[in-house]
């Protein structure tokens, strides 16, 4: 009993660390998938300004798939969007463009 009490927290921590590492790897894969699949048609600001729950992001991916996006790692992309731009994440204000009046 005593020994169990000692090793159990360590084991749980190990599991937790492994899970986090796995998630981070998935999130990183998702970030690459975003570069590959989204950037050809539009810049990423329009994605990163949104805060949606997983179901909301999934619906957006459905829409984009319907419009011809070929995902190779859709699960990782969804993981990345949910983890980075979930509805629990604070909103960041959009950037300002530079003055373009001299560039007609």
């Amino acid at each position: 009993m005593m020994r169990t009490a000692l090793w159990l927290p360590g084991l749980l921590l190990a599991f937790a660390l492994a899970a986090t590492a796995a998630d981070q790897a998935t999130v990183e894969k998702g970030r690459k998938e975003e570069q590959r699949t989204c950037l050809p048609c539009h810049s990423l600001r329009i994605i990163h300004s949104n805060r949606l729950n997983r179901a909301g992001w999934n619906k957006e991916l459905d829409k984009m798939a319907g419009w011809g996006t070929k995902f190779t790692d859709r699960d990782a992309l969804l993981e990345y969007l949910g983890a980075t731009y979930g509805d629990d994440k604070p909103v960041t204000p959009p950037e300002m463009s530079a003055d373009g009046r001299s560039k007609q």
């Binding site: 950037l39 050809p40 048609c41 539009h42 810049s43 600001r45 329009i46 300004s49 949104n50 805060r51 949606l52 909301g56 619906k59 957006e60 319907g66 419009w67 011809g68 996006t69 509805d87 909103v91 959009p94 950037e95 300002m96 463009s97 530079a98 003055d99 373009g100 009046r101 560039k103 007609q104």
Partner: protein, 381 residues
């Protein structure tokens, strides 16, 4: 309009490469002051409220909304407008033909259907517009009815389908809209060849539809085809895009597709432009400013509160009381003591419509028109 997909794709990749270099030292949009950058490819730009200090919004400060990549600038000499469908004789019209028709000027407020989406709770997907996806301009060109008369409209036509020169990317839908023929034939509905006397490509010139009092989606840019049809068009940007629930829904619940309707017209609304939200001001006289508009109606009254909505007083309105165009309002105010004040504005239109405290939540985040509100901290001078 359809185009060679491979060409578009190549152009997009080249544009993306060019943009990435520019992004390092900030993205500048040609012809525009610094704007709130919701997206740079395609450009979706919001006007900071501090630029709204005149009845006519200058082109260099006017908001931009694009669904699809901006088409290459149209050479005025090469421009052609196709009149097809339920017409007496299909016709190809040049810019010179359009310039020969009687020219009219309509001042009208153009507002993105999703202006204010960021204020809805729960949050909604889409561009997170704040207050500035709106502007007021003087649009000039022939009446759409005069343009259509060149080809002659078959009486069987009940709707007008409009297509712009922007083209789909991969399998995205093309931006095609339709509207009832009655609105197309309205004397204020124009095919604008000028915006504030200019022809800015980014705003859809040399030929942009002006649909006064209706949401921005109806104001098709770079118009290259007009087609009278018997039935409403059915593309994505008509259905399910740009529809609004017939009956209000509990916030956060899914749309009921059978109960979504095409948006026609706009609600009554006001926006505060000064003082700036969460700014500081010295104790002493100041002027509260803003603008108010009401779709196809004119603004009757704007009331302002400086105490969070407990008491209201009428603001001064700019003199031109027009349908379609906004009115500026001001209220001189001298706070009696320092502290934080919540300033609010509430507009009423000529049909008696009043801005609500809580606008109806809807699954696409359209038509936000809640009573506007800014906070200001007044400090001892």
């Amino acid at each position: 309009m359809q185009a060679n997909r491979r060409q578009i794709f190549a152009a997009l990749l080249a544009a993306a490469a060019a943009r990435q270099i520019k992004a390092a030292d900030g993205i500048a949009i040609p012809g525009k002051r610094p704007m709130i950058l919701h997206n740079d490819r395609p450009e979706d730009l919001e006007t900071p409220v501090k630029y709204f200090d005149s009845w006519v919004t200058p082109v260099d400060a006017f908001f931009v909304r694009q669904h699809l990549p901006r088409p290459a600038a149209i050479d005025p000499a090469a421009y052609r407008l196709n009149l097809t469908g339920l017409v007496s004789k299909p016709l190809e019209v040049t810019l010179a033909d359009l310039e020969k028709l009687p020219q009219h000027t309509v001042p009208a407020t153009l507002e993105c259907t999703g202006n204010g989406r960021a204020f809805f709770t729960p949050k909604l997907p889409g561009i997170q517009w704040g207050r500035g996806a709106v502007g007021n301009a003087e649009w000039s060109g022939p009446r759409l009815s005069d343009v259509l008369a060149l080809a002659g409209i078959d009486p069987a036509a009940k709707f007008l389908e409009i297509d712009g020169a922007d083209t789909p990317v991969m399998q995205t839908p093309d931006f095609v809209r339709s509207m009832p023929m009655e609105k197309a034939m309205h004397p204020a509905t124009l095919l604008a060849l000028k915006m504030n006397g200019q022809s800015p490509d980014i705003h859809g010139l040399p030929a942009r539809l002006i649909v006064p009092g209706w949401d921005g989606t109806s104001w098709v840019k770079w118009v290259v085809r007009l087609t009278p049809v018997a039935k409403e068009s059915g593309g994505f940007f008509m259905n399910p895009g740009y529809r609004y629930p017939k009956y209000h829904l509990p916030p956060g619940t899914p749309a009921r597709p059978a109960e979504l309707e095409v948006i026609e017209g706009m609600p009554v609304k006001s926006t505060l432009t000064a003082p700036e939200d969460q700014s500081k001001a010295a104790l002493g006289p100041m002027t509260i400013r803003g603008f108010a508009w009401a779709g196809e109606n004119a603004i009757e009254r704007v009331e302002v509160s400086t105490d969070g909505g407990a008491r209201w007083q009428s603001a001064q309105l700019s003199p031109r009381k027009l349908p379609f165009a906004w009115r500026l309002f001001t209220l001189d105010w001298t706070p009696s003591e320092p502290g934080y004040y919540t300033i609010m504005s509430r507009a009423t239109d000529t049909a008696g419509r009043v801005q609500p405290i809580v606008p109806p939540w809807n699954p696409s985040g359209y038509l936000w028109n809640g009573i506007d509100r800014v906070g200001v901290t007044v400090e001892k001078a």
